[in-house]
């Protein structure tokens, strides 16, 4: 696991340049009026690309054993799973109607 003293250093300045360019693209995407879904997909894609660059090169995952990469990816998959489990809530517009209606009925009955 520990590989102290390895001589093979990636070109950090190139990674830095990529990260800076991707950040500029992210900010650039927000300005024009793209369809909202497209903007969100592009932004998440770019953020993931940047996160992968940081993890693989700056955190040296590329030079570690593959087992560690598998362990590290796991919480990200669980996070994605977490969002998927929330999807019924995230996409439902009826949630508010459901809450408001019984509340109104309760008010009516107490008035009588």
């Amino acid at each position: 696991m520990a590989q102290n003293g390895h001589n093979e250093h990636p070109k950090y300045m190139w990674i830095f340049l990529w990260l800076a360019v991707l950040t500029a693209i992210e900010v650039g995407i927000v300005i024009p009026d793209f369809p909202k879904a497209l903007t969100i997909i592009l932004l998440i894609g770019l953020a993931c690309a940047k996160a992968i660059l940081v993890a693989v090169y700056f955190m040296h995952l590329k030079f570690e054993k593959r087992t560690l990469a598998v362990i590290v990816i796991t919480p990200f998959l669980i996070c994605v799973f977490l969002v998927i489990m929330l999807l019924p809530d995230l996409t439902s517009d009826k949630r508010h109607e459901g809450i408001e209606k019984p509340a109104a009925e309760v008010v009516e009955t107490t008035e009588h």
């Binding site: 696991m1 102290n4 950090y12 969100i40 940081v54 955190m59 919480p75 996070c79 995230l90």
Partner: protein, 216 residues
């Protein structure tokens, strides 16, 4: 004599597979994995609250938050990540003074980031973004209305990240002091690598926070 040989053999068998270097690194990775889940839960909760705002609506972040300033803050954290890898690279080549310079620059990046965040928060609070209210007018001048959960979710997530940066700056200062005292060499430097892991993680999380809270 025979007993001594047996003991030696036993020690060989029970030698731990994790060295002190790799044990520390594994410990940091485990902490970071746990922290990923914390941020993941916060961002998922944010998504649920935002989409769940329903008829009340959610003000687009660009109406309240200054994107240009935060883009600059993102760039700053990326720069500090580069100085961090340069610090590790320097000590792996045995150059202590160069490592200390780069560690100092990394700390400076972190401190400026925190300063900018404090400036941003002060500005937002003055303009009416509090834990219970949102500003009456957006950055584009028009009147805005929407869920008042904008404030608490924004302050919770950026605040939690800010605490990580604060912790990272203190951690880096401790490592820098050790470095100045000559603790690290080309052979002994895993502690620098471990603080680097933490610092890059803070950068990685900010990339996500910037996208989800400010841009989307």
């Amino acid at each position: 004599m025979e007993q001594a040989t047996t003991l030696e053999h036993t020690e060989d068998v029970y030698e731990p597979s994790l060295t002190p270097d790799s044990l520390g690194k594994l410990g940091m990775w485990i902490f970071l994995i746990g922290d990923t889940m914390s941020f993941g839960a916060l961002l998922a909760a944010y998504a649920a609250l935002r989409t769940g705002a329903g008829v009340i609506g959610w003000v687009p972040p660009s109406e309240i938050l200054g994107i240009n300033l935060t883009a600059g803050m993102t760039f700053l954290l990326i720069c500090s990540s580069v100085t961090m890898v340069k610090a590790l690279e320097s000590i792996q080549k045995g150059n202590v003074s160069r490592m200390c310079t780069f560690l100092g620059l990394t700390i400076l990046g972190g401190v400026i980031f925190l300063g900018l965040q404090a400036y941003e928060w002060t500005h937002l609070i003055k303009h009416g973004l509090t834990l219970t209210e949102i500003p009456e007018h957006g950055l584009k001048g028009g009147a805005i209305a929407g869920s008042t959960l904008f404030g608490p979710t924004f302050y919770a997530i950026t605040g939690f990240h800010g605490l990580h940066v604060t912790g990272g700056v203190i951690y880096l200062i401790v490592i820098l002091i050790h470095g100045l005292r000559g603790r690290y060499t080309a052979e002994f430097n895993h502690e620098v690598e471990i603080v680097g892991l933490y610092w890059h993680f803070v950068d990685l999380i900010w990339i996500m926070v910037f996208t989800f809270i400010y841009l989307i």
